[in-house]
Symmetry: C2
Subunit: 309 residues, 2 copies
């Protein structure tokens, strides 16, 4: 084990790209072969979703550094969904993928510590422990500290929501206080944690979630947060392109991982892949979507340096 | 079934008080008799926590309207913890308690819909479905809408974090934008949802979390949010008194439920109850703590009207 961002740096250099594959198992969108017989039964649906994620991991594990399971899509099935999530986290780890749990958790300090223990407590302690967790900042600095501290002890990572990719995010995050938008206030706090915990790669174990759908703010925050690694959602299905995320990277091609979930998970049902692959060859469609995304990031962003391609 | 806030109104009138009992099963704090033999095993610890909650529910069910299980304390045990939570939610429902799941969930719209389904989808759909859920507003209005909508369909409730009880909450929530603190901007959005969904009691199915530790803001928000029911944390262990929460109620003694978690859960280890009860009679200590809290709210707040005492 080593500092989380050093492990992430090593992994993105090894695979030669900055793609993060989101795992969003939406039962209704699964290939028919996986859906059949699960019908209205949450337990069978959860198992189908787990199988889908395992088969997707089989495809992407040789290609990318990390996966990001979205907890909501497991939680909706109740306890069997959480068993499925546990299986997915373990399987991804076995395949040597870093696992960034997308839970957007938070609460007041003493309760936040329990969430931190749940998701960052280390695999020995807890079978569904990830390498990193996304957290929400509305409750302020004392609510983030338990995550920051436990992640430091466990050589894990934390990604704090700063500027989210959805249109409604602007409502609160773009309010201007003391001459700066709210997201910049959060950014300052995160950068301070990051600066205080920098690894050999120059980045702290506390990162930021910054949406690809706001390219100007992404570039602005890259300048303002030199020690903060970015998790960048919004690529693909949410409309952002490789050119849009270019500003998220540093001059070495480090400092950002770019997430795509639906665009990879359900590539088989998208116009550009449906005809060639279809549901029967859905894994090949997902593989093609990952390879295309790698190529786009290579051509349009500093992450091209990660691989001589 | 009926509109959630009408159900809540009926329940608080039936029991004659506005006490909300938080269920915070912290393994290390459980009475020794429940801890023994569970040692380092998360599955046994989760079961001990479930048993603790059931025994606490046995005591409080005749006294109060609702309980608030804190998801973090179950999640930390992994899947067995979530099974335990499911058991607790079901047991509380059997005892005719309303269940407000404290998960502080949120995400972008299409993912928020999965969280909403998980916790507000109705008991038929999902064994751990609650009557209401707490949600976090950092991602803005389009992230709250799936919760608001599904809760409306299911006659469930949503409580949005507005002004939290922890000291660090001020960091972001008290930033002043356009002449008003951020929490007032969130309050406006919540009040709009509440106003658009008012039941016979006058309150909408979208409520607000407003900390008892800020009595002035509590009174200010009561004025600003006439259709919004408040879930008020911070009483007891966090330092707030009955007098502090008085401003949360309307003139009928409605419009607020006041949470106490640690102060009730672990009353047996607190100075004022330890000697008389101790760990062996921990349920009686919790019962005494609930009765004392009811009496304090009756004496010091408009909730006194709920019962002629």
């Amino acid at each position: 084990m080593a500092h989380f961002m050093d492990r992430l740096t090593e992994s993105v250099r090894r695979v030669g790209n900055a793609v993060l594959v989101g795992l969003d198992p939406r039962f209704a969108l699964l290939p028919d072969a996986l859906k059949k017989d699960a019908a209205e039964n949450p337990e069978l649906q959860a198992r189908a979703c787990e199988r889908f994620c395992h088969e997707l991991i089989d495809v992407v594990a040789p290609l990318v550094a990390a996966v990001k399971p979205q907890v909501a899509f497991f939680e909706q099935f109740g306890p069997p969904g959480m068993e499925a999530l546990s299986g997915v986290v373990q399987f991804a780890r076995e395949k040597e993928l870093l696992v960034i749990v997308d839970g957007k958790r938070n609460d007041i300090g003493s309760t936040a510590a329990a969430y931190a223990q749940a998701w960052l407590g280390g695999a020995k302690q807890n079978v569904w422990s990830g390498d990193a967790l996304t957290v929400s900042p509305y409750l302020g600095d004392d609510s983030l500290l338990p995550f920051v501290e436990l992640a430091g002890e466990q050589e894990a990572g934390v990604f704090v929501l700063v500027k989210t990719s959805n249109p409604g995010g602007a409502m609160l995050q773009d309010l201007v206080a003391d001459g700066r938008p709210v997201y910049r206030h959060v950014a300052d706090m995160v950068e301070q944690y990051a600066n205080g915990s920098a690894g050999q790669c120059g980045y702290g174990h506390v990162g930021a979630v910054v949406g690809a759908t706001y390219p100007e703010q992404l570039a602005e925050l890259r300048q303002a947060m030199p020690h903060t690694w970015f998790l960048v959602p919004g690529f693909g299905s949410q409309g952002a392109t490789a050119a849009d995320v270019s500003g998220a990277f540093d001059e070495r091609g480090l400092g950002a991982i770019v997430n795509s979930s639906r665009g990879i998970n359900y590539a088989f049902s998208q116009p550009q892949y449906a005809e060639e692959y279809g549901a029967a060859r859905w894994q090949r469609a997902s593989e093609a979507a990952v390879l295309d995304m790698i190529e786009q990031l290579r051509a349009e962003t500093p992450a091209g340096q990660l691989s001589p391609g």
